[in-house]
Amino acid sequence: MKILFVLSLVAAALAGTGCTTVQPWERGRLAEYSMRADRDPFDDSMQEHVYFTREAAAGGRGVGGGGCGCN
């Protein structure tokens, strides 16, 4: 009986996990402006700068430079 109790708890815990498929009609929150990756131009330019500096790669993301992190 105790095993059944524990199994039931585990089953309930598994059933309650947050993994779910977002249906086409449930995408309102995902479509909000605050969910956009490009909502802040200043933050975008900073991210781009960090990215190309860290990756030592020039171009490809709209930012010029040689990858030295000096510009």
Partner: protein
């Protein structure tokens, strides 16, 4: 005490499993497809007045304020509504926004003359299991789903929707004769 609690929990888990099983089975039922009868819309707790659809070709459009293609589709739907109203075609917009205010703002920006109801609880859209937003469903005068159009293409415009409406009108005309 412990045994009683266990029994109660077993009951709850069993009930939960049955409910979840039922929901899963319904979701896979695929009842909204061409050739199947449209369910009674008045049983889904929609907010707003439903138009009289008896013996008319019905166009049901599922839309939301956050859906980009819906913005493009509204003028086209309005055009179709005006064009075919005299031939017994009723257009019905079904909004699936969680926030009614957002729907109102959208309708202010994209005014239409056809009736719009809100599926606040999402019961109708869940039953329909639409594959994309917007989805437009053409229902024949006999209450049978004639066609389901997923999404909206600006390039295509009203072409396919108009063709489905014309086809349903043609069938309705033949039955009358």
């Amino acid at each position: 005490m412990y045994t009683q609690a266990c029994r109660r929990l077993e009951g709850v888990v069993l009930a939960l499993a049955l409910v979840m099983g039922g929901v899963a089975a319904r979701a896979d039922g695929g009842e909204w497809k061409a050739g199947n009868r449209l369910p009674d819309l008045s049983t889904f707790g929609l907010e707003g007045a439903l138009p009289a659809i008896q013996g008319k070709v019905l166009v049901v459009d599922f839309w939301a304020s956050w859906c980009g293609p819906c913005r493009a589709s509204f003028p086209v739907l309005e055009e179709l509504s005006r064009k075919y109203a005299s031939q017994g075609v009723v257009l019905l917009g079904v909004n699936v926004d969680a926030d009614a205010a957002k729907m109102e703002v959208f309708l202010k920006d994209h005014p239409v003359t056809f009736p719009v109801v809100r599926d606040a609880a999402g019961r109708l859209v869940k039953d329909a299991q639409i594959a994309a937003m917007p989805t437009t469903i053409i229902v024949g005068a006999d209450g049978v789903i004639a066609a389901i159009h997923s999404g909206f293409s600006v390039k295509e415009g009203p072409g396919k929707l108009a063709a489905s409406i014309e086809e349903s009108l043609g069938k309705a005309g033949k039955k009358k004769e």
